[in-house]
Amino acid sequence: MALLEASEVVAGYGETEILHGVSVAVNEGEVVTIIGPNGCGKSTLMKAVVGLVRVRTGRVTFKGVDISAQSPERIVRSGLCYVPQSANVFPSLSIRENLEMGAFVRSGSHPDRIEEMFELFPDLALRPGRKAGSLSGGQRQMLAIARALMLDPALLLLDEPSAGLSPAIMGMVFDRIQSINSAGVALLLVEQNAREALRMSHRGYILVSGRNRLEDRGPALLDNPEVGRLYLGA
């Protein structure tokens, strides 16, 4: 049984329907990437999974439990954490406070876990009292990922973790993502830098206009000439 299974999910905003029945699965310990053109519903799918957007029809299960009508708080508690694409840190809180907020569902201040995060992202350890709003784009991204890791989730959802980063920083973020995965955390990614992301993914999905288009192993998608031409800009 898959760790996360979204089947035939229909969702949208107001009167507009964005997802017309999308199915995605992530197995334990897997890295899965979703790619597709702008507006295909990648981010909406993530929001539907974490409970920010209501699932109209279809089903989302996590660890075998139906979470499609659960509050984000309960979903987080069950071990599924999410990093939005933008506005993903609390700007007026310090680095340390941001991390504490990541573990809000468990009381206490979790100094040990924060130290582990500082080991994983040494940049954050330099001045833990610094306001997140004053960090650079790359540092923010790392803080956002660290915040989502505070609960030691089984699955981490990352919405475009490399957006707006310089190539060097981007390489480092991908490197961290791989080490997070090797620690046993499953990952579901949405990425514009599809080539880079697919290279380290076990499997990938291609969404077009709110529907599944293709699904295959990561390297296989990279080698698929049609995918290369249409979605990787080769």
């Binding site: 974490v50 409970g51 920010l52 984000p72 708080e73 987080v76 508690r77 954490c81 999410y82 939005p84 506005a87 993903n88 840190v89 609390f90 700007p91 007026s92 809180l93 406070e97 941001n98 504490e100 907020m101 990541g102 809000f104 569902v105 009381s107 201040s109 306001k131 709003g133 004053s134 915040r147 989502a148 609960l151």
Partner: protein
Amino acid sequence: MLPMKNMTRRIGLAWTPALTTAVIVAAAAAAGLLPFVKMGLVVNGFILGSIIALGAIGITLIYGILNFANVAHGDYMTMGAYVALFMVEEALPRVGIEGQGLGPFTFGYPVLLALPVAVAVVAIGAIALDAVIYRRLRDRRVNAVVLAMMSLGVAIALRGLVQIIWSGGTQHYPRESRQVYHLPMDVRIAPDSIFIAVVTVILVAAVYLLLTRTRMGKAMRATADNPDLALVSGIDTQSVIRWTWAIGAGLAATAGVLLAVSQAQLLPIMGWKFLIPLFAAVTLGGIGNPYGALVGAFIIGVSAEVSTQWLNPSYKPAVAFAIMIVMLLVRPRGIFGGAEYR
């Protein structure tokens, strides 16, 4: 007062050159005026500013976290003042607790006992109102201005309730006349005013510690920063909202009691009339910024009092309003830059 230097450093002021210039000009103007200003008025201004601060901090917290202007905040103050009146006039005398003229103060120790009761009643009332009214509107995802509209209805109903229970006339806590202290520079200060300042210092310090040291306080700041991210971080936003109401309404109730003590009277309209200085202070400090509201409150309080040297004292709310309008023209985000002002 408070460790202000420490606090300004914490909120990370970004002094723009324009603002620095403005502050220098304002400071120079103030310094130029200083020889002509009666120090007594400045002292009174800080006392008035203390009461404004307690109300304004609540408004700005509610604004930051619930994202609307709580027009009923003045009437929460009124409610607090009247619940305390009920305690000192009806409830406490039944168990033999009566008195006025405690030490140098005009009021008696029953007011000290009534204050926490008023805080608790108004805080619980505010949480209940949120559960029955505001929460439903949030679930409907209405525009923020509809929430403000709703708070207007609540304000009217609360004042009506106060008038039904206590009638529309003037009342006061049992009091005894007391000597004022004479200080140098022709400053006269009533012992009651010192009480007001001390209560304010304690409560502001408590709010500061709560926001910076406790898990719930940090969660409140996080929710004010980014409510959606707070939700997906697993922050229990419902209890954040309840805490916000409890703190905001509790501070308002205290402000109401202190206002009744300082004016030596209670009137059902007292809170509604206080809305203008409250919002002026909030605007001045930057919406959603509690430290800004504190500074804004003292600026408004001192300016309003000092203006009475030249203007009819009843123009004080108009002075507060004028300062607010000037601020909105010059720097709508407030001195310290609040959340979204557009």
